[in-house]
């Protein structure tokens, strides 16, 4: 059974309809116990980092996600859920869960590009299991003002990058560390390729 973490994130409904369409065995839950005991966890999210962290803490879901990840079972973060797995976000100076080392930064406003990035962007990926059957430079749907840096805080390249995209600068559009996977884009809103990626998480990744 897959548990989808319910903390009133904006894209919960669309993740639910996509999983239903894919015939996934899943439940939507805000119960830390159910989340820790499930076989896989999907951690969705749209919204603001500080507010989201507050909701997670108030429900004990931050600890539940950390505990779940420590069991070695597969965890998949989407958009804000992806960002929250990192160490730190510039968005209202927010400490995150720290499951994948890295920082979340605001897109510079002086690049002549609109912020937030709203729309389809291509991803060059590392051909890991999550991207199986998905060609390089496939397009996925993004909605975000903050991005995952490709560098660790000391300035060295992050070893956890599974996908890169460009929006004025190069950012990490997918990350992977051991049993933890995450995408900045929304697979549940990225058409057939997005559904394929979700299906890979459900069926290809143990």
């Amino acid at each position: 059974m897959i548990a989808v973490v319910d903390y009133e994130a904006g894209n919960l409904k669309s993740v639910e309809t996509a999983l239903y369409y894919l015939n996934a065995d899943f439940t939507i839950s805000s119960d830390p116990e159910i989340i820790v005991k499930s076989d896989k966890v999907i951690f969705p999210g749209v919204g603001e980092a500080k507010h989201a962290m507050g909701v997670l803490r108030s429900r004990g879901l931050d600890e539940a996600i950390i505990t779940f990840a420590s069991t070695g079972k597969s965890l998949f973060g989407i958009c804000l859920g992806c960002q929250i797995l990192q160490d730190y976000s510039e968005e209202r100076d927010t400490q995150l869960l720290g499951l994948i080392p890295g920082d979340v930064k605001l897109f510079p406003s002086d690049m002549g590009l609109k912020v937030p990035q709203i729309g389809w962007n291509t991803v060059s990926h590392d051909s890991s299991l999550l991207f199986e059957g998905i060609p390089q430079e496939s397009s996925f749907y993004f909605v975000h003002s903050y991005y995952l840096s490709t560098e660790l805080s000391g300035g060295s390249d992050s070893p956890w990058i599974a996908g890169r995209s460009d929006y004025g600068i190069t950012f990490a559009s997918a990350v992977h560390r051991d049993n933890i996977w995450a995408t900045q884009f929304h697979p549940e809103k990225s058409g057939p390729k997005g559904l394929k990626l979700l299906d890979n998480f459900i069926r290809r990744i143990d």
């Binding site: 369409y21 749209v46 389809w120 291509t122 749907y141 058409g191």
Partner: protein, 255 residues
């Protein structure tokens, strides 16, 4: 590479799609869920459903359409028309829409933009603006509401900037003068707005052939282009449009 979006707009009345010419003489042309699926398979990047149902008591039909679309279409879609309160926004978002579009209600009560943005985030709140050429306005364009019948006295650029500062995450700029003509988008107005705000601008009104989209996405500086009748009547598919855009070096999603 970041891509320009092609957005198909479906006007929905009593649960059926229509497309009117300058907001008059609407004719039914199909089932919105079926049409949405067809455009999804053609590779459209986003859909907008605009509810033009007249009577408030029949609005529940639209929520059902939204729910059924959400079950079958895995790309973003926006719902507009008849949304006057944050609770109205909640109803369509909870039914599965990514975004809500507000137009006349935001002119009457701009705080609804902020209310919606606080609750769901700016990325959910799309401001629809109907603009028409008006030489008495500083930008040369004024805002009209209620389907173009009522002049508001608001300047197009002032309103676009105000809406952005109130929390709108995107603007759909519809030209009343160009709407339904199929003679091309209002390039000047689109470029003015797109260069004045930091949020994406979707050009609307006047699309008749793929060349019009090339023009508004390059010269008009639009981030996305909305089409309706040119695809509804089968003259062009979304694929035809994207092929021509790609050949004109406009980055679009082709997969």
């Amino acid at each position: 590479m970041f891509q320009k979006r092609i957005v198909v707009c479906l006007d929905v009345r009593d649960g059926k799609t229509t497309k009117g010419i300058r907001f008059q003489g609407n004719v039914d042309i199909g089932d919105p869920v079926q049409m949405a699926q067809e455009y999804y398979l053609q590779g459209v990047d986003e859909l907008v459903f605009y509810d033009i149902t007249a009577s408030a008591e029949r609005r529940g039909i639209m929520i059902d359409v939204v729910r059924r679309v959400a079950e079958k279409i895995f790309i973003p879609f926006c719902v507009g028309g008849g949304i006057a309160t944050v609770d109205d926004m909640s109803a369509v978002i909870m039914a599965g829409a990514e975004k809500v579009s507000i137009n006349s209600a935001a002119v009457r009560n701009p705080s609804i933009i902020t209310g919606g943005a606080r609750r769901y985030g700016s990325q959910c709140i799309v401001l629809g603006m109907d603009a028409e050429a008006d030489s008495s306005m500083p930008s040369g364009y004024g805002i009209v509401i209620d389907g173009g019948r009522v002049k508001t006295g608001k300047d197009m650029l002032e309103w676009a900037k105000e809406a952005e500062s109130l929390g709108a995450g995107e603007i759909v700029l519809n030209s009343i003068d160009a709407d339904g003509t199929r003679d091309g988008y209002e390039i000047t107005a689109t470029r003015l707005v797109s260069e004045s705000v930091g949020i994406p601008v979707v050009a609307s009104g006047g699309a008749g052939n793929p060349g019009h989209l090339v023009e508004v996405l390059t010269r008009g500086k639009a981030d996305a282009a909305l089409v309706a009748s040119m695809v509804h009547y089968g003259d062009f598919s979304v694929g035809d449009i994207k092929k021509e855009l790609s050949e004109s070096n406009v980055p679009v999603r082709l997969d």
